[in-house]
């Protein structure tokens, strides 16, 4: 269990990080960014796995199973779609960005 105040600190810092990082993204990337952040909350899959892993009654197991199914869909779908979009962005200068990518 995480102490409430510690959680508050983490909430606050994470919110600032998200806000500051996104504030710099150019409009050109807004669609892939939307689906990219959509992918990142696919981490819910982990939570659903834990919930299913601790489910005890058949009903809980069923709900947990649906949760994992949905979470896996979120993560995998978000990734594929984002990757497909980003793959298409190319520069006319061949080799540009090699430096920054390294």
């Amino acid at each position: 269990m995480i102490d409430g105040f510690l959680a508050l600190y983490i909430f606050m810092l994470a919110a600032f990080c998200g806000y500051e990082i996104i504030a710099r993204v150019p409009v050109i990337l807004h669609t892939p960014l939307m689906s990219g952040s959509n992918f990142i909350h696919g981490i819910v899959l982990v939570g659903a796995m834990i919930a299913l892993g601790h489910a005890q009654t058949p009903f809980e197991v069923t709900v947990g199973f649906v949760g994992v199914l949905l979470g896996a869909g979120n993560a995998a779908g978000g990734y594929v779609v984002t990757e497909r979009m980003l793959e298409m962005f190319k520069s006319s200068k061949p080799g540009a960005g090699k430096g920054e990518r390294g």
């Binding site: 994470a14 998200g18 892939p32 952040s37 982990v46 796995m49 834990i50 779908g77 978000g78 298409m88």
Partner: protein
């Protein structure tokens, strides 16, 4: 700490780090591709680590569910058309919200069961009050995001064309929300029982549904972005209940990022988020300004010649290009111009199309290098030195009434200044209006010529004319 738990915790930490670094890399087109891969590695690490958590039951079921979910989503995600991206994002987002709600449901049901067991026995219940409250809140937000996103998906997919409006709708929605909140507060204060939990989810799901139904299809991107932020928050709160820092951080980062994106989008449309959610766009509005003059048509051959001998051409795509799937032909045409020595640029308005960055994705799909693409602030001063501005399927984003007519629903929205160019050629099918449903003074301007036709067909004609010039 023994080795395995430490390793698992390290994986979660690495996942959170990779998510943030990945998002950072997504902020430039040069590094964006790498960014999603980094985030993907983080996700893989986190999921693998979770398999090795101690005390996990139902491992077989978990593997089955993961495999089914991943392969179904992977399969659809790979084959869906680029134009269907908005609804796919909505769908996946709804799934995430649903998963968060499911986590909340399992926790609540488990809590009710434990409560029944301890009953008269003393002993602390499973969750602390803070955990219980955040768990309920996360479940509420997640459920709303789930049903709301599914409606958004259905609308964008064309399964549900009409706006669903009835008198007193807002009051009903408000009552629903109030009821859900009251039940939620009951739950959070420890009165957890099976029926109450069921009622809670029914109310939340219904609210998400009814709140999204009256919103117009074209406003959906803003709504999807909002639900994206919602799902992030829900995930973060459920992560707190489960004591999982990676979920807390990733969810909160998305929550903040999504909120900001939603604001940016609404701002670029010169509307407030409240107006998107509750306003009836375009329904009100005063008397429209009358526009004098007539639209002057042009032949494809003449238009092609004008551009072939121009020095600078700026191409302004809009929603019509997306509908007509004309991006490939347009790029073919632009390449022919470039080969002739014409300086060609693409100018993109932040809300051209139906989601932010929509045009960028389509042009990228056609292979247009992103350094030929200019955004509004960059290109507006250059129109004065432009010989021909070719508008293809854009309407509102080039409508001068946004500057001149305070009664127009798009008044105040910044626009692309195409009328400053020497000549303007507009490709559209007829006299149809754009998203805002209003007339466009640009089409009647002296230096504007209309090239009527479907976007793809018209671009194809231009290509052919240009090729015949070379023969």
């Amino acid at each position: 700490m023994s080795l395995l738990p430490t390793l698992i915790k390290a994986c979660y930490f690495l996942a959170a780090l990779l998510f943030i670094l990945g998002l950072k890399r997504m902020s430039s087109p040069r590094t964006a591709r790498g960014g999603i891969v980094w985030a993907g590695v983080g996700m893989l690490l986190a999921v693998l680590a979770t398999f090795f958590l101690p005390d996990m039951h139902n491992r077989g079921l978990i593997v089955a569910a993961v495999l089914i979910g991943v392969s179904a989503a992977w399969w659809t995600g790979r084959r869906v058309a680029m134009t269907a991206m908005p609804q796919m994002v909505a769908l996946y987002n709804g799934m995430g919200g649903g998963a968060a709600a499911a986590i909340g449901a399992v926790e609540l049901i488990g809590y009710a069961r434990a409560l029944a067991l301890v009953d008269t026995m003393q002993g602390a219940p499973l969750l602390s009050p803070v955990e219980l409250s955040l768990g309920v809140l996360g479940a509420l937000i997640g459920a709303v995001s789930f049903s709301g996103s599914l409606v958004a998906f259905a609308k964008l997919q064309g399964w549900m064309d009409k706006r669903f409006v009835f008198p007193g709708q807002r009051v009903v929605n408000l009552l629903l929300l109030a009821a859900a909140v009251v039940v939620g507060v009951l739950l959070a204060s420890g009165h957890v029982s099976g029926p109450l939990v069921a009622l809670f989810f029914v109310l939340a799901l219904l609210f998400g549904l009814l709140m999204t139904l009256p919103i117009g299809g074209a406003d959906m991107p803003v709504v999807i972005s909002l639900y994206n932020a919602f799902t992030g928050l829900a995930v973060s709160f459920e992560g707190f209940v489960l004591g999982n820092e990676a979920m807390i951080i990733a969810g909160m980062v998305v929550g903040a990022a999504g909120t900001l994106l939603t604001q940016l989008m609404a701002k670029a449309m010169n509307r407030s988020i409240g107006n998107v959610l509750f306003g009836s766009f375009g329904a009100a509005g005063g008397e429209a300004q009358a526009i004098g003059g007539a639209q002057k048509p042009v032949e494809a051959s003449d238009a092609a010649v004008m551009m072939a001998y121009a020095e600078r051409v700026v191409i302004v795509p809009g929603y019509g290009m997306a509908v007509a799937q004309a991006q490939h032909k347009v790029w073919e045409f632009a390449q022919l111009l470039i080969k002739r020595g014409v300086k060609v640029k693409f100018a993109i308005h932040p809300v051209a199309g139906r989601m932010p960055g929509h045009m960028n994705v389509l042009l990228a799909e056609a292979g247009v290098p992103y350094d030929l693409i200019a955004d509004m602030d960059e290109i507006n001063p250059e129109f004065a030195a432009t010989d021909v501005a070719l508008v293809i399927g854009a309407n509102d984003v080039v409508n001068p009434l946004a500057k001149t007519d305070p009664a127009s629903p798009i008044y105040g929205m910044p626009i692309l200044d195409v009328s400053a160019a020497k000549h303007v050629i507009v490709i559209k099918r007829g006299k149809g209006t754009g998203f805002a449903g209003i007339e466009n003074a640009l089409f009647y301007a002296d230096n504007t010529r209309m090239l009527y036709g479907d976007g793809q067909a018209a671009a194809g004609q231009l290509v052919n004319e240009l090729k015949s010039l070379d023969d």
